[in-house]
Symmetry: none
Subunit: 218 residues, 4 copies
C-alpha cells in the first residue's frame, strides 16, 4: 500500500466486505486492477464527497461533489452508481475504521481503560468528520442495506470490549452496547452542531464515561 495511500480510503479497498482487508488481497481480485488514472479519480471523488458531505450535509447536490473532485458528473457516476452508493461507501469506510479500532483494543491489558480509550478514539474520528456522523443518523437517505451488516459488526466488536469491562467491574452491568454507542454518537453529533472543539467533545465523552463507570471503581 504505497501510492494509493490517501487521506481516507484508497480505491481498491472500496468494496470492503468487512472481512480480510489485509494489505495484499487486492492484487488477487478477480476484477482487473483499475487503471492508474481511474484509481486517482476514484479517490479524488471519495475525498471530495467526504469533505462536501461533511461541509454541506447529505442534501448537497451531487454536482458539487463532482466539481470539488474536479471530475465530470459522468465520472462520478461511473465510480458510484448512485448518490446513495457514494454516501454509503464513505460511511462504510468510516465504520470499518471504527471496527478496526475496536478490535485493536481487544487484547488490551486493562479492559476498562480499553473501552474508555476506544470511546475517546471513536469520538476523535467522528469529530474529524463530524457532520458525516450527523448525516449517518438521518433518514434523508436510506442507509440500510449492506450497511446494517457492517453496523452489526461494529456492535459486536464494541460488545466484546464492553463485556470484558463489565467482567472486571469497570463499568455498570446494566448499560448496553447500544446505549453506549447512542450516547457517544449523540455526543459527537451535538458537539458538531454546537461548534465544540476537540477538547469540548472529549469533555462530553468523559461525562458519558463517568456515567457508565461502576461507582465503586472510582
Amino acid at each position: 500500500m504505497t501510492a494509493t495511500k490517501g487521506p481516507l480510503v484508497d480505491a481498491n479497498e472500496h468494496n470492503l466486505n468487512g472481512t480480510d482487508t489485509s494489505s495484499d488481497a487486492r492484487e488477487a481480485s478477480a476484477t482487473r486492477p483499475m487503471r492508474a488514472d481511474a484509481a486517482r479519480n476514484h479517490e479524488k471523488i471519495l475525498v471530495a464527497a467526504e469533505e462536501t458531505f461533511a461541509l454541506e450535509g447529505v442534501l448537497v447536490p451531487i454536482d458539487a461533489i463532482a466539481e470539488r473532485a474536479g471530475v465530470g458528473i459522468g465520472t462520478l457516476y461511473r465510480h458510484f452508481p448512485t448518490k446513495e452508493a457514494l454516501y454509503e461507501a464513505i460511511v462504510m469506510t468510516r465504520v470499518t475504521q471504527l471496527i478496526d479500532t475496536a478490535r485493536h483494543f481487544d487484547h488490551s491489558a486493562d479492559p476498562g481503560q480499553a473501552l474508555f480509550e476506544f470511546l475517546r478514539e471513536f469520538a476523535r474520528q467522528a469529530a474529524e468528520k463530524r457532520d458525516l456522523f450527523e448525516a449517518l443518523n438521518q433518514a434523508g437517505i436510506d442507509v440500510k442495506s449492506q450497511f446494517s451488516d457492517l453496523l452489526g459488526e461494529l456492535m459486536k466488536a464494541v460488545d466484546v470490549l464492553r463485556e470484558r469491562a463489565v467482567k472486571r467491574g469497570a463499568i455498570k452491568d446494566d448499560v448496553s452496547t447500544t446505549d453506549i454507542l447512542a450516547l457517544i454518537s449523540g455526543s459527537c453529533n451535538a458537539a458538531g452542531h454546537n461548534g465544540f472543539d476537540h477538547d469540548g467533545l472529549q469533555r462530553l465523552i468523559d461525562i458519558v464515561i463517568a456515567g457508565i463507570r461502576e461507582p465503586a471503581e472510582r
Copy 2:
C-alpha cells in the same frame, strides 16, 4: 405543569417574546388584531406543521402541511412567509415550552433533583416530538436568526438550575450548561434514530445524570 398540556401549541404562544402570553394579549398587540378565522387558520397550520414535520421530517413538501391543515398553500404563505419561518415558529414554540419548564423548577427545594427532573422532562418532551429535535440539529434549514435569542434564554434558565445544583454540591462544577444541553439533546437525537422507546431514552438520560453528578454526593 403547563408546558405539556394543550393540543400541541396554541396560537397565542406563537409570537411569544418570552413575556406574558395571557389569552387576550393578541387583541392588545400593536399589529392588526387578526380576524377570528385568520387566528383559527394560524393555529391549524401550526398544529399541522408540527405533526407533519414530526411524522415526515423537515424535507416534507410544504403542500403536505397545507393539506393536513385543511387550508390552501396561499393561506399558509400568508401566515408564514417561508417554509423556514414556519419551521422556526414551531421550534420556537417548543423551546418556549422548555423555558417554561425550566423556570418551573427554579424554586424547587432540592436543586439537584430540580435539575435532574428538568433534564428528564426535557427528554420526555423531545421524545414526543423527536423528529423535530432531530431536525433542529440539522443544517438543512438555518435555524439561527431570532431563534438564537430564544435559545439564549433557554440557556439562561437552565443555567440557573445548574448553578443552584453546583452550589449545593449536587453536580460537578466543571460541567457547563452547554455541555449538559448538548448531552441531553444528543441523547434525544440518538434515541430517536435508534428506535429507543421512552424508557430507553430515560436510561440514557440517567447515564448522563450519573456522569455529571458530584461523586461524593452519591
Copy 3:
C-alpha cells in the same frame, strides 16, 4: 359543451373511463369544476402535446411540449403527473373517438359498407394525427395499464361491425378483428413514414378492404 369545445379534447373529459362519455355527466362530477384558466391550460397542454408528439415522436423532451403550450413545466406536471400519463391521455382520447366512431356505424343498414366506412374513417383520423399512431406502436413508453382496457373496448366495438359484415357475407369469415386492425394501423403507420397524402392512405385502405372482401360478393 360550449367554451371548452376545442380541437381535440376538452379539459373535463380527461379521465375518461370508457363508460358513459355522455355530454352532461361532467357537471355532476365529485371533483370541483376546474378553474377557467386551469381548464384553458389543460387544453393548451393537450393540444401542444398532440402536435409535438406527432411532429417529433414520443422521445421529444417534455419541455418542448410545455414551451409549445406556452406554460411552465410545473404547470404541465400539475395537469399530468408523468410524461407517460400525458401521452396516455392523448392516445386514449384518440382511441375513445375511434370507439365512438365504430359505435356510430353499429346500426347502419349495410353492414359491409358500415365496416368499410369505419375503416376509412379510422384511417382518416389516424392520418390527421399520424405519427401518434406510430408512437402508439412503440415500446419506448409503456402504454399498457388502463389503456389496454380501452383498447379492448375498441376491439369489441369493431368486432361487432365485423361480425355483422361476416353474417351478410360481405367479408371473409376467417379474418379476425385483430387482423383487420393490425392491417389498418400498419397502413396508417407506413403511410405516415412514407409521406403518403390522404388519398395515398385511402388507396392502401382500399387494398386492405379488397383483401378481406368475400370474393363472391364482388
Copy 4:
C-alpha cells in the same frame, strides 16, 4: 437462397454498394486492407448490434452492443463513427439481402407467384428481425442519407417483379410498388407490435396479396 443463410450478416456484405461482394474484395479495396483482427471485430460488432437492436430496440445504449460484441466502446467507434452509422449499416445489410431476394425471383416462370412469394419472403425476413424493421420506421434515428439509394434500388428490384405481374394480369395495374411495400412493411410492423407469430403475419400478407390481385385472376 443466399440471403437467408449465414449467421446474420457477414463482414463482407457490410460495405456493399450493390455490386460484387465476393470474399476477397476486401483486400482489393482502395482503402487500407483492414487487418484480419480488425475485420473480425467489425463483424462481431455487426452481429452484436443486430441481435441487440432486435432484442432491446434502437434505444439500447451503445455500450450494450460493445459488451455483447466483446469489444471496447472505443473499438466500436473506430468501426462506426456514430450510433446512427452502425444502425444504418445493419439496416442496409438487411435491405441488401432483400434486394438479392427480389432479384432471385426475377426470372421465375410465374410472375404472379414470383411477386407473391417475394412478399412472403420479405415478411419472413422482417419477422425474424422484427424490431429492426419497426425501428426502421421511426424518426428517432434518421435513416435517410446513403440509405435512400439502397432503398431506391430495392424499389427498382421490386418494381421489376410488379411490372411482370401486371403484364400477366396477375395483379391490378393501379397499385404502385410503393403501395405494396408500404403495406407489407406496415403489416410486419403491426405484427411485431401485436405479438403475431409467423403464421399470423403470413395471414396478414395473404390479405394484402388478395387485395392487390386482379379479381378476374382468382
